[in-house]
Symmetry: C2
Subunit: 310 residues, 2 copies
C-alpha cells in the first residue's frame, strides 16, 4: 500500500485519508458556529478501552445537539476500528466527530438545511499532561474566568466551545502553572480543559456533581474506588474543599489518572503525587493490562478491524 | 486564467485558492477549541463598506484573544481587496479569520505552541434574513436559552461559540419563527445569531448596552439617527421594553437594517415593517450609493486591488 497512514488515519464522509488530508471546509458550521460534537476513545496495547461507553456518550451528544450524520452505530464502530488498523498504531487516540455541515441552500441560517458529517481519525497517543509533569505532580491554577453556565451550554454533551478553558490556560502559563481548572459562577468546582477533577479527603474520593462532563475515565475511577477501600462520591466541591483536600488528581482519556501536587498556592502532601492518587492510577493501568473493558483491534485486516465480532 | 474564483476566492496562509479548496485541518484549535476570531465586511457596488472599522474591530478581537497571525494591517487590507478582485464579485461578504492553528509540538496543550493562521475569503452576498421575510417583517422568538455570560465569553470580541444561538435557532424554527434573540441571565436583551437588535419607542432608537457585539451596522444606525430626527440610545432593554416598543429591527453586515413585524406573540404596528425602521433602512442603503465610508475595489488588477491607495 502506497498511502502512509503512520502519522494517523482519518475517515472523512466516506473516504479514508492520511491525517494530513483530514480537513473541513471553512464554511462548515462545525467551524463557523462551533456546531459540532465529538468523542475520543483510547487504544492501548492494540485494544480500545470502553469503546461502547464512548459510543453511548457520542450518541447522547448527537441527540442533544440534534445532529444525525446518517451513520449507524455498527458502521461507526467499524470505521473507528478501521482507522486504527490502517494506522497500525497500538497506542492511539481515536476521535469521532459530527459537524452540522455546510448548508445545502447557500446562505441559509437554518440548521435543518445542513447535511451533518461524520469524521473519525486515529492519531498517536500523547499525554494531555506530560509524563514528567505527571511524575512530579501537576500544578493547577483555579482560573479567574468562570466556566460557561450549564444554562447556556450543557457540559455533559461534548463540545469544542473551549474559550473559557483557553483563557484559563493562558492564565496558567502566564503564572507558571501546568494547566487550569474552572469554578462555576456560584463558586463550585467544575472541570479543566478536557479533564475531570477529583479530590481525596480521608478515604473519600470526590468529583463535582455539576458543570462537568461525565467522563469515561471518571467513571472508571468511580468503579475502581470500592476495590481499593475508597468511597466514591459525586458531590459539590467548593474552593475551600479543594484547599482542604488531602490529594487532588485529574482524569481524562488523554492521559488517564494524573496526580496533582499543587493547586494555586496550596501544596499537597510532600509536593508529590499523593499515595491514594498513585494507587488509583496504578490500578487503572493494571486493569487495562488485564483486559478490563478492552476490545482488541485486528491490525492484520483493516476490512475486518475487530478480532471478535464487536 | 484557468482557476475559477466565481463562487468565491480565498487566501489560506499565503496561497490564493477557489473557495471550494479553503479548508482547515481537523486538528486546528480554531476548530477543536473554537479558538478563532473573525470579522466580516461587505462589498456592494464594487466597494467595501467601512473597511477600516472592520479592520479596527478585527485587531481588537485578535488582541483580546492573544492571536497574532503575523500579517500586518496593510497586508490584510491588500489580501481582502485581492480576494474580492479575484472573485469578480461586486456584491460580496468578505471574511477575515485567525485561528490558533495546529501545535508545533505534537500533543501540546499550550496555546503558545501554535502558529496562528490568517485566512480571508470573498463569497457572494446573501441576506441573513431572506428578502421576502424582510419585506413582510421578520418574526423573532425570544429563546429560552440565555446568552453565554460575558463573565465567561466577551461578546465584543467576535467568536464562533454559537451553541446558545443554535439552540435558539432550533427553537425558532420548531415554533415557526424566522430567527431568535437571546436575553442574558438577568433578563436583559442581548443580540441574535450574528445581528444586533434595536427597539424604537417614540423618537428614541435603543440598542442593548450589554451582552452584544459592537456591530458596524449598529454603529451606522446610531450615526444615521440624528439626521432623521431620532435619538440614538445605548441602554438596558428588558423583555417588557421589547413588548412595549413601537417597532423592532435588527442590524448586521449580512443584510443591513432588517425590520421585524413580530416578537413572540407581540405584533407591531400593522404586522409590517414600521415606518421608522423602513426609513433607517432606506437611509442606510442610500448613503452607500452616495459613497459613505465606501472603498472601491480595482477589479481590473488583483495585484493592485484598490483604485486609490487605501
Amino acid at each position: 500500500m502506497s498511502v502512509d497512514y503512520s502519522k494517523g488515519a482519518a475517515y472523512m464522509n466516506g473516504v479514508y485519508v492520511p491525517i494530513s488530508e483530514a480537513k473541513i471546509p471553512v464554511g462548515d458550521w462545525g467551524f463557523t458556529h462551533s456546531d459540532v460534537t465529538y468523542d475520543v476513545v483510547h487504544v492501548t496495547d492494540g485494544a480500545f478501552f470502553r469503546l461502547e461507553d464512548h459510543l453511548d456518550r457520542f450518541h447522547k451528544s448527537l441527540a442533544g445537539y440534534r445532529l444525525n450524520p446518517g451513520v449507524t452505530r455498527d458502521q461507526m464502530r467499524h470505521i473507528l476500528g478501521r482507522v486504527v488498523a490502517l494506522s497500525g498504531l497500538e497506542r492511539a487516540f481515536v476521535a469521532m466527530l459530527s459537524t452540522r455541515g455546510v448548508p445545502r441552500i447557500y446562505g441559509s441560517r437554518n440548521p435543518m438545511d445542513c447535511d451533518n458529517t461524520f469524521i473519525a481519525y486515529a492519531v498517536p497517543w500523547v499525554d494531555v499532561i506530560k509524563p514528567d509533569v505527571q511524575e512530579r505532580g501537576a500544578h493547577l491554577i483555579v482560573a479567574s474566568v468562570p466556566r460557561i453556565s450549564p444554562k447556556s451550554l450543557d457540559p455533559t454533551l461534548k463540545n469544542y466551545m473551549w474559550r473559557d478553558f483557553t483563557r484559563g490556560m493562558f492564565e496558567a502559563h502566564d503564572k507558571g502553572f501546568d494547566t487550569a481548572i474552572l469554578l462555576d459562577q456560584e463558586g463550585f468546582l467544575t472541570e479543566g480543559s478536557g479533564f475531570n477533577v477529583f479530590i481525596v479527603k480521608d478515604k473519600k474520593v470526590i468529583t463535582p456533581d455539576r458543570g462537568a462532563l461525565e467522563g469515561v475515565t471518571r467513571k472508571s475511577v468511580l468503579d475502581i474506588c470500592p476495590e481499593l477501600g475508597l468511597e466514591p462520591i459525586i458531590g459539590p466541591i467548593t474552593y475551600a474543599d479543594l484547599m482542604d483536600a488531602d490529594e487532588v488528581f485529574t482524569a481524562t482519556t488523554a492521559g488517564g489518572v494524573m496526580p496533582c501536587a499543587r493547586v494555586d498556592d496550596r501544596i499537597y502532601g510532600n509536593d508529590r503525587p499523593g499515595p491514594i492518587s498513585a494507587k488509583i492510577k496504578e490500578t487503572y493501568w493494571r486493569k487495562h493490562k488485564e483486559g478490563w473493558h478492552m476490545t482488541p483491534v485486528n491490525y492484520a485486516d483493516a476490512d475486518n478491524p475487530f478480532k471478535v465480532a464487536a
